[in-house]
Amino acid sequence: MVTIAVDRVRRVAGEVTDPEIPVLTIDDLGILRDVRIDGSDHVDVDISPTYSGCPALETIQADVAQRVRDAGYENVTVNVVLSPPWTTDWMSDAGRRKLREYGIAPPRSRGADMRLLQLAVECPVCGAAHTNEVAHFASTPCQALRRCGSCSEPFQHFKEH
């Protein structure tokens, strides 16, 4: 019973989208860490920030709380958990695909030895592997600005973190 309830709350909470990159849910991002329901139906949801100063976090906290209340749980606490620190390796494959379709190059995956499995950041527009970093930082802390050497299109890259 409790497992079914937890799974349901987890699914509902996980559907909250990132206000800055609305194509991604917090489940895609990998920042939804844990859901617990105690004997008196109090729900605890743990989420992790992508970056310490991420301005989207408070909105996400409020959205998660609202969704869980809408699902019938009046008492909900959304905790911010820092440890272990979030990494882009927790982003789901679905999340990476959605980012690419949205025009943002997804973070490259890392192997068990922490080395990047794929060396090139591919252009999300034409797929070319020859792209250059224009700036370390872009419209959000988690992205960098790049330009494609083939189609010349500038694009954002979700940095490996």
Binding site: Y51, L82, F137, P141, L145
Partner: protein
């Protein structure tokens, strides 16, 4: 500071929170006036990371000193003498080279500090540090790239970078000072010994300067006092600007 005995760990976290906050505010002052749009975005993104680190550290400080002060209380309701940031971070932005030099010198120090704090016996501090290490690694990379570009660039950029380092170098000695607070937190395993960070800092900074064809400045003047609330003249002006709105309209929200 008040004479009430507070947990030295709270003073220690407050020092680092203030470092993050003050540098964040200085970097935010570049907003709309950096040399290029990309730099405008980069400096304000770094400011945002530092602000996030400051918030986590202020929250931890209030848990340790049991005062219940909010983040806003720490930032807006304290006077100049209550801030315990190092002098380096409060120095004015100057030209872009001064800002780059300050980023290089401070990010190198901060990276070593967070690495050491990753093993802190205070689990919350360790978690904040482990998160911040990844961010500061990126800040240092940004500062390093610019130091190389300016130092090993034109005669004009080299001279500006040289002058910037000479201007800020004296303030780096304070970073490695020890006192009763650091002695206590080091003994309890909350923090690493600041003096032990010095060797790593030296070799990291020296390597960047060498590659950038810049010389390590030599100075015998080592101003200090920030950790005890004694600041340089420019700090009061920065604080007045930062706190004005909040104090003129107590309780205002938007």
């Amino acid at each position: 500071m008040t004479a009430v005995a507070v947990d030295p760990a709270a003073v220690y976290t407050l020092r680092h929170a203030d470092d993050c906050l003050v540098l964040s505010h200085r970097l935010a002052q570049w907003s709309s006036r950096a040399p290029s749009l990309e730099e405008d975005v980069a400096l304000t993104n770094i400011a945002l990371d530092l602000l996030g680190q400051a918030r986590a550290l202020y929250t931890r400080t209030s848990e340790l000193d049991r005062t219940g002060r909010s983040e806003d209380d720490h930032v807006f309701q304290r006077d100049e003498r209550d801030f315990v940031n190092c002098l380096l971070v409060e120095q004015e932005n100057g030209d872009f080279a001064v800002t780059v030099a300050r980023q290089l010198l401070f990010s190198t120090y901060q990276l070593e500090t967070w690495r050491a704090l990753g093993g802190s016996t205070d689990r919350q501090v360790a978690a904040i540090a482990a998160k911040a290490v990844k961010e500061v690694t990126y800040h240092l990379d940004h500062a390093t790239q610019w130091t190389l570009r300016l130092g090993d660039g034109t005669a004009e950029s080299h001279e500006r970078m040289r002058a910037a380092l000479e201007r800020l170098w004296p303030y780096t000695a304070e970073l490695f000072e020890t006192d009763a607070v650091t002695d206590d937190v080091v003994a309890r395993g909350v923090a690493g010994d600041p003096q032990r960070l010095r060797a790593a800092w030296d070799s990291s900074v020296d390597q960047v300067l060498r590659e950038a064809t810049l010389e390590r400045p030599s100075t015998s003047w080592t101003p200090t006092g920030g950790r005890r609330g004694l600041h340089t003249e420019c700090f009061g002006y920065m604080l007045a600007e930062m706190q004005h709105l909040h104090r003129a309209h107590p309780g205002a929200r938007w």
